[in-house]
């Protein structure tokens, strides 16, 4: 038989540009990638198994520790599922505070994703700018919730802390700084000839392939799929949320989409702050008791749809739980469609990072 594959090129599990352990196995012909495969299982802890049989108070913290980058959305979706099981009403002020914290978390996650991409294509200046701006966003998160990463801010029937007036002022000033800085960085990104060479027409995935591979989140929206789970969320419906869609399907589109979503998040937070002005002094914790039932609920994580299926008994203990995270579909799409036909081995890591894989989310 004629040999078609030159080299089988494994990348990982410990690699300079990966934040987490994963292995990409590529079959290459010269520099061209013929096929790729992602091998996982390095950080499987079995969180869903240890969640079963525990009261929701414990599961809440475990849910948050599924992923450190998008911890707020894990907390939020689990609590919203529990609220829908037991018909707990959320005060309107708490609903807007939840959106503020969730959007801040999305901002820091998108900044981190774009930092990783810029670092991978060796544009270190922009990468350092982005990670420094992320610190500003994380500071605001810390000011509101009391922690940088694992906040545990959202609880059934409300949120833990109220937003003080002086904190709202600091948040507004930080948002102005973010908007100014991000516009500058977007300009750098758009005009950089190096970035265009490394990103445009690299890692192409068409809309049909996105639908076939079920990819979600920014990866799907950069290829023209007009869908966002925030459209189904009652608070976002009040805020007239509209998803952003780009059609160029390549690495460049995915990064630009995240930049555009940053502006969108800033606008959402500003709108929430405006509405909170009129709700001063209202309650932020309604209270309620977690009861028996079963429900499935989906929220929009920074990487796509995040689904929780929870079944509780009448004491508020979790009897069954299953979590579906978006990264597994995105990584599948990346391995089977984006990497196939990549012109150079240097593009492998760039393409993989552009889909923003979160391995801890995947394996749990």
């Amino acid at each position: 038989m004629k040999k078609v594959v030159d080299v089988s090129l494994p990348i990982g599990p410990v690699h300079p540009c990966f934040k987490e352990p994963a292995r990409i196995k590529c079959e290459t012909m010269g520099e061209k990638v013929l096929s790729a495969e992602v091998e996982m299982g390095y950080v499987k802890k079995g969180i869903e198994k240890i969640m079963v049989g525990r009261p929701w108070q414990e599961v809440m913290f475990l849910a948050e520790r599924i992923c450190g980058i998008c911890s707020v959305i894990h907390n939020m979706v689990f609590i919203e599922t529990v609220e829908r099981i037991s018909d707990i009403e959320v005060p309107i002020r708490a609903q807007y505070l939840r959106v503020i914290v969730n959007e801040l978390d999305r901002m820091q996650s998108h900044l981190l994703a774009n930092y990783s991409y810029c670092y991978t294509i060796e544009h270190e200046t922009l990468a350092m700018y982005l990670i420094n701006l992320r610190e500003t966003v994380v500071d605001q998160l810390e000011l509101i919730t009391g922690a940088r990463i694992t906040c545990a801010y959202i609880i059934p029937g409300g949120v833990r802390f109220d937003l003080r007036d002086e904190d709202a002022e600091t948040l507004k000033a930080a948002l102005d700084k973010c908007e100014k800085d991000i516009s500058r960085f977007v300009k750098i990104f758009e005009e950089g000839p190096l970035i265009a060479l490394r990103s445009k027409d690299v890692g192409i995935i068409t809309k049909e392939e996105i639908i076939a591979s079920q990819a979600a989140g920014p990866t799907a929206r950069a290829s023209g799929v007009d869908f966002d789970h925030r459209l189904n969320h009652p608070t976002y419906q009040k805020l007239d949320f509209k998803p952003i869609v780009l059609n160029s399907c390549d690495n460049y589109a995915r990064i630009m989409l995240r930049f555009k979503e940053l502006f969108q998040s800033i606008e959402l937070i500003r709108e929430c702050l405006k509405r909170l002005e009129g709700l001063k002094g209202e309650t932020i914790r309604g209270g309620g008791e977690v009861g028996e039932g079963e429900f499935t609920w989906t929220g929009e994580a920074p990487r796509g749809g995040l689904t929780y299926h929870v079944k509780t008994n009448r004491y508020g203990h979790v009897e069954e739980i299953s979590v579906q995270t978006p990264s597994i579909m995105n990584m599948d799409a990346c391995a089977h469609y984006m990497l196939k036909g990549a012109d150079s081995a240097a593009d492998i890591t760039a393409v993989f990072i552009s889909s923003d894989p979160c391995i801890s989310c995947n394996e749990r």
């Binding site: 599990p13 390095y42 950080v43 520790r65 694992t150």
Partner: protein, 166 residues
């Protein structure tokens, strides 16, 4: 102390290469290491370089609760790092398993069971300043007079083996 040794001591305080490995954490600690790179904390002004390549590392940063898959791989990674070397664990997970340490979880903490650990930074997750502070405090202690200590140890073992022969 010889002159060469004192120069080496001086240099090693300000040139520390770091490799980090995630053995089953939630990413929280990993992104706090990444945050150290930010110009606000600026880890490189202290001469600490995050390379993530074990073959040129001096210090191995470990995050996570040690999952089963890393059983032999972490030992292999540790053997790749040239002497003198030290391991620092970050977060509660490598110390106790933190929230994951329940019956049925596929983890095996503490990490110090598997490789020698020089320091632990508890916290869920610890702040970037704590990570930088620990590296800066630990590195000079571990790397001080490394060659002289090694020569002394070699002489000691030689004396013992000779004594045994006689």
């Amino acid at each position: 102390m010889s002159i060469i040794q004192s120069i080496k001591n001086k240099v090693r305080q300000r040139s520390i290469h770091v490799c980090y490995v995630n053995v089953g954490s939630c990413n929280g600690c990993d992104i706090e290491i990444l945050a150290c790179l930010a110009p606000r904390y600026d880890i490189e002004q202290y001469g600490i370089y995050v390379h993530n390549n074990p073959r040129e590392a001096d210090i191995l940063l470990i995050t996570g609760a040690f999952t089963e898959q890393w059983e032999d791989k972490l030992k292999h990674l540790w053997d790749l790092i040239p002497e003198p070397k030290a391991a620092i664990t970050i977060g509660n997970c490598p110390v106790s398993g933190c929230a994951y340490n329940r019956r049925g979880a596929r983890i095996d903490p503490p990490v110090s069971k598997h490789i020698p650990v020089a320091a632990n930074i508890p916290g869920c997750p610890p702040r970037p300043t704590e990570i930088i502070g620990t590296i800066l405090e630990l590195a000079p202690v571990v790397f001080k007079d490394y060659e002289e200590k090694k020569a002394k140890e070699a002489a000691e073992t030689e004396r013992k083996t000779k004594g045994a022969k006689k």
